[in-house]
Symmetry: C2
Subunit: 182 residues, 2 copies
DNA sequence: CCCACAGCGGAACGCCTGCTCCGTTTCCGG
DNA sequence: CCGGAAACGGAGCAGGCGTTCCGCTGTGGG
């Protein structure tokens, strides 16, 4: 039987981790997450037996957010606005959340749900690119992998000093859009 | 008086560090560099009192390489070929050297010579962009900062798993070039 | 040739990390 | 209201890092 305070503490841990990861990156120490949550490390480890699991939990939310966004774009009747909106909003998201970028870059650390979500995301993106291409708004030879590469490039930029990253991300997003447009 | 074997060992350390940083990234442990060089850690520390100094020494070489490349491009009479060549060769360099990317991204760790070289590099790039713009081969509104942002994006990509990074870097380089071209 | 001393290697120190152990506190069903 | 189980917190452990210390080695000027 799950006790009420346990559930409450779990939520506090997740909230603290979300905030810490977003502002300081995925490498923030477990002690620090526990401190921010106002619990001991043991409590943290009781809910998430390993660091990887905590990261995966928080990342799953972020990745799902991206999925929701892409699926919403599927409803937009204007193919270019839909695709460029996805790119721009993705860039915006990177500026405000340091964790997301490492979710897409780090080698292993993937959960099952995470993988599935990523696949759905890729598929939706394929559809968007297909529509844009059919509408003739894409430069010849541009495919979904090019767009994915562009998104990856935007995500990677999150590493540089915070002061400059925001402006650079914006420029690169524009560059990518200019690069795929007819 | 500097003994001959000391000088020899110093060279071995630099060579080992160069190779290690290129293949495994800047975060490779000092012990590992010493092991590769076939010396003890103390020998390493006698020549480079701190990790940062060793990194700076190796990075200075890399950054100078970039400078040489950009200055050579200044001799190319075709403005677009010169500029696109710089972008492409920069991308190529990233694929083969993991250290260079972190040189441009990491927050602090800069030496004096390093700073100067970077400024010269920036200036040469400004000239190349100026010429390309004068020749009318650039899309309206594109400036040197856009190109720099593109190079930064390419550099950042070096972080993802080696298997995919090469292909993605190539795609992004093409995307950037397409994005700045008229 | 020889021995002072520049130079060497690797054990050791201090710090930080992820993770575990265990005595104590808190919840909650009866 | 009470007792036992669930949950807690923080000290502690193992391992990895950068850096230092110190007794030994081998180079090279006299």
């Amino acid at each position: 039987m799950q006790r009420a305070d346990a559930r409450f503490n779990r939520d506090r841990v997740v909230a603290a981790a979300r905030e810490a990861f977003a502002s300081a990156g995925l490498e923030v120490p477990m002690r620090e997450v526990a401190r921010r949550a106002g619990v001991g490390v043991a409590t943290l480890y009781r809910h998430f037996p390993t660091r990887t699991e905590l990261v995966a939990t928080v990342l799953a939310e972020r990745v799902e957010d991206c999925g929701v966004q892409v699926r919403r774009a599927l409803d937009d009747p204007d193919p270019w606005r839909a695709l460029s909106g996805v790119v721009r909003e993705f860039a915006e998201r990177q500026i405000h959340d340091r964790a997301l970028n490492e979710a897409l870059l780090g080698p292993g650390e993937v959960s099952a749900a995470f993988q599935r979500e990523r696949r759905e995301h890729a598929q939706a993106l394929n559809v968007l690119v297909g529509r844009a291409r059919a509408a003739g708004v894409l430069r010849d030879g541009v495919d979904a992998d090019d767009v994915r590469a562009g998104l990856l490039a935007i995500a990677s930029l999150r590493r540089l000093p915070a002061a400059t990253s925001a402006r650079v991300i914006g420029r690169v997003a524009d560059l990518v859009l200019a690069g795929i447009r007819a």
